[in-house]
Subunit: 372 residues, 2 copies
């Protein structure tokens, strides 16, 4: 995978450098963790924004730098061969004070959406001392991440295929008497066993009425035969995320469950059928939402139909009533209609697809409990 990630980083770096040229910026300081990984392949993780594992300093031309501390320099050298690794002792600002003049940078862009106010104050003071211009940018790298390259799509396919395998392995072990928390731990343990870096979000497992909460936190409730099991799970593989949901019943579902499940599945199919390059996120959302509304469950579907997935598990574009972005080939989105009824429970079915010119490519091979 290292070669593929290097190719992704190389192409991304060239695009950012071209963008810097257009904006007349000499360099961009990158702090946002997924942007950093995208542009370099460097995979160290931050312990929150206050304990960063490093920054990229990308000049409009010439060799980019990766600035980090002694804990991470070996990893940075191994993972980001295209970057000059700069080890700081007292932190970012001190490093910039040395590097910016050396690299001849006079117009520095920074990420407004991932720069603490306290750091901005220090950057401002530095800019004054070095007589350079500091420019806030927003979404510069994020906007490049939305449409994936063929290499990235391979990694997304692999992450989603692994998610399918993890689900199927865990599904085979679901038993009555298990708690939600135990099942969530089984799933997350299986992810690691099968080679995932980590879950892409905290696994959701909800039994019975708990499934009425779209973001249920797994608790001590134990599974009884005949009740709903809702699982929403994702993992990270080579930096790329997967995300899928399945809902099923251990034992025989009753007629009401079957009817509702089939309705959610029909909505999912309608959403997928509406996806193709050139269509807006809100149109796709509407196609699925109409099916639920026609079935009498319009009010029971309170969230958007889907979201982009890539290095982040939630990214652009949004499939929702307010989703204005136009889909393009190479975007990756979830299609996850749901139905939530407070006293009864909920059903959510979620697949991931790649947007193509003519339609979409379904990434999930798993079809457990989809068509009943």
């Amino acid at each position: 995978m290292a070669g593929r990630q290097a190719a992704i980083a190389h192409a991304a770096l060239k695009r950012v450098q071209a963008e810097l040229g257009e904006r007349q910026l000499d360099a961009l300081l990158v702090a946002q963790p997924e942007n950093r990984r995208y542009l370099s392949g460097y995979s160290a993780e931050d312990n929150g924004i206050q304990e960063s594992a490093g920054f990229l300093l990308i000049p409009e031309s010439g060799r980019p730098r990766l600035l980090t501390d002694s804990r991470f320099t070996l990893q940075a050298e191994a993972e980001a061969p295209e970057y000059g690794i700069y080890m700081y002792r007292r932190g970012l600002v001190e490093a910039l004070e040395e590097l910016l003049p050396e690299m001849g940078i006079r117009q520095l862009g920074f990420e407004a959406d991932y720069c603490l106010y306290a750091l901005w104050l220090r950057l401002q003071a530095l800019a004054k001392r070095l007589k350079l211009r500091l420019t806030a940018t927003s979404g510069l790298v994020e906007s490049l991440r939305v449409v994936k390259t063929p290499e990235e799509l391979e990694l997304v396919r692999a992450a989603s295929a692994l998610n399918d395998r993890v689900f199927q392995t865990a599904f085979a072990q679901v038993q009555t008497g298990m708690s939600e928390r135990e099942l969530a731990r089984l799933i997350e343990g299986t992810m690691l066993d099968l080679g995932a870096e980590r879950p892409s979000f905290d696994t959701i497992v909800a039994f019975g009425e708990n499934a009425a909460k779209p973001h249920a936190v797994p608790g001590g409730r134990r599974l009884v035969a005949g009740e709903t099991v809702l699982i929403d799970m994702g993992l990270v593989l080579d930096g790329y995320c997967s995300d899928m949901s399945r809902t099923f019943v251990l034992g025989e579902p009753d007629a009401q469950y079957l009817e509702r499940h089939r309705l959610v599945r029909a909505a999912q199919k309608a959403g997928m059928a509406a996806i193709r390059a050139g269509v807006s996120g809100s149109e796709v959302d509407r196609a699925a939402r109409q099916v639920l509304a026609a079935g009498g469950y319009g009010e029971a579907f309170g969230h958007g139909l889907g979201h982009g997935v890539g290095l982040a598990v939630h990214e652009a574009p949004r499939l929702s009533p307010s989703g204005r972005e136009t889909l393009e080939a190479g975007m990756v989105v979830t299609v996850e209609p749901g139905l939530y009824l407070a006293d009864w429970g909920g059903i959510r079915l979620e697949n991931m697809v790649i947007v193509t010119e003519a339609g979409c490519e379904l990434l999930n091979r798993d079809s457990t409990w989809l068509d009943l």
Copy 2:
């Protein structure tokens, strides 16, 4: 624990309100996750700074508010009874636009160390519209968190005692042939089994030469009899963190290992003996560092002796050559001297203590492989 946490939050809230009075601020906006939990008991976790689980708006007097979205309102109501819960749909700024005039707030403080530049721009615009003054604060709540109340110390004791139990449970299962990653997963699984919320940091397990890296990431290396095992682990219980390290050998240690281990242990004892209210962090560091230097390993100890622990696993005060803070009774610190030799491996022994007027209270009851 809920009663104890409510008492902690209540006392903390009163102290912050008094501080706001002194600073002539009408209110403080709190975003930093540990500060938020400290002041409210609300335990939801952010998915990074870009996906916050909520904010506190604390007026200098009167009822404080907790601002969050629909996913978290039930949890917020249950956990933060002293707060008025405000559910926002379009986010923080919109909520503030309604609440600030309603609450008569004209001087608003915010956390410079946990506010994104992009949010600050929007807060500035809001301040202009509402004709209020926006004031950057730094460390206002953090500084209150450094000295723990008796209720907090009870929670720290409990977190550390549970860490001891987890270590002992895992230690009993260590076998040759296990990989570092397997042992780390065994430890983290045991934490959850025994009731921890989560690890307080990614568990470090390093075998043999890998122990020479203070922040080693557990890998596929399998344990061989006679080689060093270094474990650094911590957990979160009721919001409070623990942190401990042990180093041992499966089988018979050789004379060189024994000599080095005893030296690190002697440095740890010297550090602990130096701790008491009124002493500076650098003095404590020096007491331990001298022992290692006298034994010929001054260069092999590259990090500080310890750090504060509380709601965050790394917080003030620092025990290090540059640690200027003066210790006070009720602070909680780690004492973790180490010795790292690139071709050989490393030894680190870490306990947690509470600073008292006369000395310190050792929190770790575990004495596995300390005195050899």
